[in-house]
Symmetry: C2
Subunit: 388 residues, 2 copies
Amino acid sequence: MRDVSIIGIGVTKFGELWDKSLRQIGLEAGLAAIQDSGIKRDDIDALYIGNMASGATIQQEHVSALIADYCGLTNNNIPAVRIESASASGGLALRQGYMAVAGGFADIVVVGGAEKMTDVSDAKSAYTNSMGSDEQWESQVGATFPSLHAMMAQTYMKKHGTSREELSAVAEKNHMHGAMNPDAQFPFPIRAEAVSNSSLVSTPLRMLDCAPNSDGGAAVILCASERAKEFTDKPIKITGSGQASDTLSLHHREDLGRMKAINVAAKEAFKQAGKKPKDLDLAEIHDNFTITELIALEEIGIFKEGEAGAKTLEGMTKISSEIPINTSGGLKSRGHAPGATGIAQAVEIVRQLRGEAGDRQVKNAKCGLIENHGGTAATAVVHILEVE
Amino acid sequence: MRDVSIIGIGVTKFGELWDKSLRQIGLEAGLAAIQDSGIKRDDIDALYIGNMASGATIQQEHVSALIADYCGLTNNNIPAVRIESASASGGLALRQGYMAVAGGFADIVVVGGAEKMTDVSDAKSAYTNSMGSDEQWESQVGATFPSLHAMMAQTYMKKHGTSREELSAVAEKNHMHGAMNPDAQFPFPIRAEAVSNSSLVSTPLRMLDCAPNSDGGAAVILCASERAKEFTDKPIKITGSGQASDTLSLHHREDLGRMKAINVAAKEAFKQAGKKPKDLDLAEIHDNFTITELIALEEIGIFKEGEAGAKTLEGMTKISSEIPINTSGGLKSRGHAPGATGIAQAVEIVRQLRGEAGDRQVKNAKCGLIENHGGTAATAVVHILEVE
C-alpha cells in the first residue's frame, strides 16, 4: 500500500446558503482545493463525493456525476463516486478516496463533500437528520434525532455523574474557537450559562447543545505521497485510517452511553499510524451534540471513561491547553453540513498542521486526528494526519 | 494489486415486493450469497451496499449500517459503505468492493444491492428515476426519464436509420430469455408486435420499451483470489473493472445518440483483462430502455456503430446465437431495482460461467461482461468476469 498525502484544501462558509445551489457549493469548495493544490484538471484521476440526503432534500441523486459535470471533469470521463453514510458521508468519502490512492488505482483524487439542508422546511430538515437513524424502529415511531442523543446523554451522565455545566462547557469552548474561524456559521462566543438556560429540546439536551443543520461544502486533494512534492512544500500525510460499524438502532446496543464504533475505528487508525492518543497535538471531533464530544473523546482514548466532562470544564480542550479539540469551532459553531462535515474537519487539521490557522493556530501542531460519525455512531470513521 | 474472485452469489426475485421491507430484501440476498459461498460471518472484512434512493422513497439513508445491522455483522464492527450512483449504484458498489480487496484492505467483502421502489405512488416512483438525471435542468422543468431516453433514441435512430422493429426485437429477445429465469419479475415471453403496439410513452418509446421500477436485492461475495479455493471449486475471477463519467445533463453532450462513458469504461475493463469484444461469450447490458441496449452494445464494441439494431433483429443476441445478451432477461424482463441491478447482472454472469444457468445456459461460457449505468449514462461501470 502506498502512502497518501493531502496537497490541497478548500471549504465554503457554512450556513443557510439560500443564494447557492448544491452544485455551486460543491464547485466552490472543489475549485478552492484545486487552486490551493496547484494541480491541473488533467491531473485528476478520480472524484469521491460525500453527500447524505440530496435525494430527500433537493430531489437530486447521482451528485457525484453532477459535481464532476459542473467542475468540468467529465471531459476527461474520470470516475466519480458518491458515498453516503449519514453524517459520516464526508469522512467515509475521504477514506474511500484514500483507499483508491493507497491501493494504486489513482494518483490524484479530489474528495469533496456538499450538502444542502436548508432548502426544505425546518421540520423536513430535522426529519432528514433522522434518516441516519433506524426509520422503522426509531424515527417513524417518533424518536427524533435529538431524543436519541438525549437517551445516550441520560445513560452516560447517570453512569458518570456528568453535570449540566460540563455539557455546557463543550459548547462554550467550541464557540470560543469558532469565533476565530471566518468560515464558521456562528463565529461568535456564547456563555456556558446561555447554553444551560437555552430552550429544552429533549432532556437533558437544550438548543445550544445541538449543532445546526447547515448548507456547506469542503474538499481536499489527495495525492500519492511519492508525487506530493511536485505540487506543494507542505504535504500532510494520512498516516492512519479506520472505520467501524455499530447497530443502526440504539435499542440494539448493550450500553446506550457508549459509541463503540468510534473506539474500534480509532484503534485501527492509531495502529496503522503507530501512534497513541497522547501523541496527538489536536483533534476535530464530531460534536453534533455536546454529549457526543464527551463520549467520543473517551472512545478515542484521549480521556479515560467518565472524565471528559471534568477535563472540558477545566479547560483542557481549549486552544493552547493540553489537547485542543475542535479548533474550527466544531459542528456546533462552524456548522454541520452532513456530507461536507468530515472533509471540513480534515481541512481544519491540514490548516493547523501547515501552520495556516491564523488566530486559532495550535503551536507546533504535528499530529492531528479527525473523528466523524453517522447516525448515533452506527458508522464511525477516524483519520490521523501528520506533518511529513 | 491482487486478483479478486467471486465466491458466492445471491439474488431475490424482483418485482413489487409489498410484503418485504428494504432490510428484509437486503438480508435475503446477503444471506443467500453467504450461504452459497460457505464463508462464516467472522470471515467478512467489509460490506459495500449499492442503493439509489432509499432516502427519497422510504425516508432511510445510512442503509449500509442498516443492512450490516440486520445481517448481524455489527457484532464484528466491520466497515459498511453505501455507494450511490443512480441506476449504476450496484455496479459501482461492486467496483468499490473489488478495489478494497485488490488494494489489500480486505480479504473477503460482501457487496450487496437493495432497492424499494414500489412503496411510493407510481408518480413518485417515476420521479425517483429522474433523480438520476439533472434535477435543475431536466426533471424540474418536465423532462421525464423516458423523455430523455426518447431524445437519445430519436437522435440515434435518425442517424442510423434504426427501425421500430429493431427496438421491439430487443424487448422480445429479453423476455424470451427472462421466461427461463424464475427470479425474473416478468418471466414470460412477449411478441415484438405487442411492443410496437403498446402505449406510447414518449416518441418513439412505448411502454414495452421501458424496464419496470422494481423492488429487489442481489449480493456477491468477493474474495482475494489466492484464498478463493478455500471456499469454492468454482471461483469466478474479475479480470477487468472500468468506470467513467459523462455530463449529467443530456444537453451538455456533443451527440445525444451516444453514451460515451460506457465506451471509456469498457475500454478500461478490456485493457485490464487483456481481452477484446470478440472474446466475450455473453454479456449483461443495462437495457433500462430498448434503445440503451443497442447503443451500449456499440459503445462496448460488440457491434459496429449503427449495426446493433439489425444484428438484434437477425437474432444474433439470443442464447445459442453469436453473442447472447441479457440471458437473465435484462432490466426489461428480470426487473430493475436500481441499487441491486448491477449486482444481479454479476449474479447472472457467475451462474453462466459456473454452468448453473439451467434452461438458459450458454454453452462453454468462459468470459462474460457486465455493463451498468446511471442516469442517461453519466456514470458507467463495466466489469469482465472469467472462469479461472
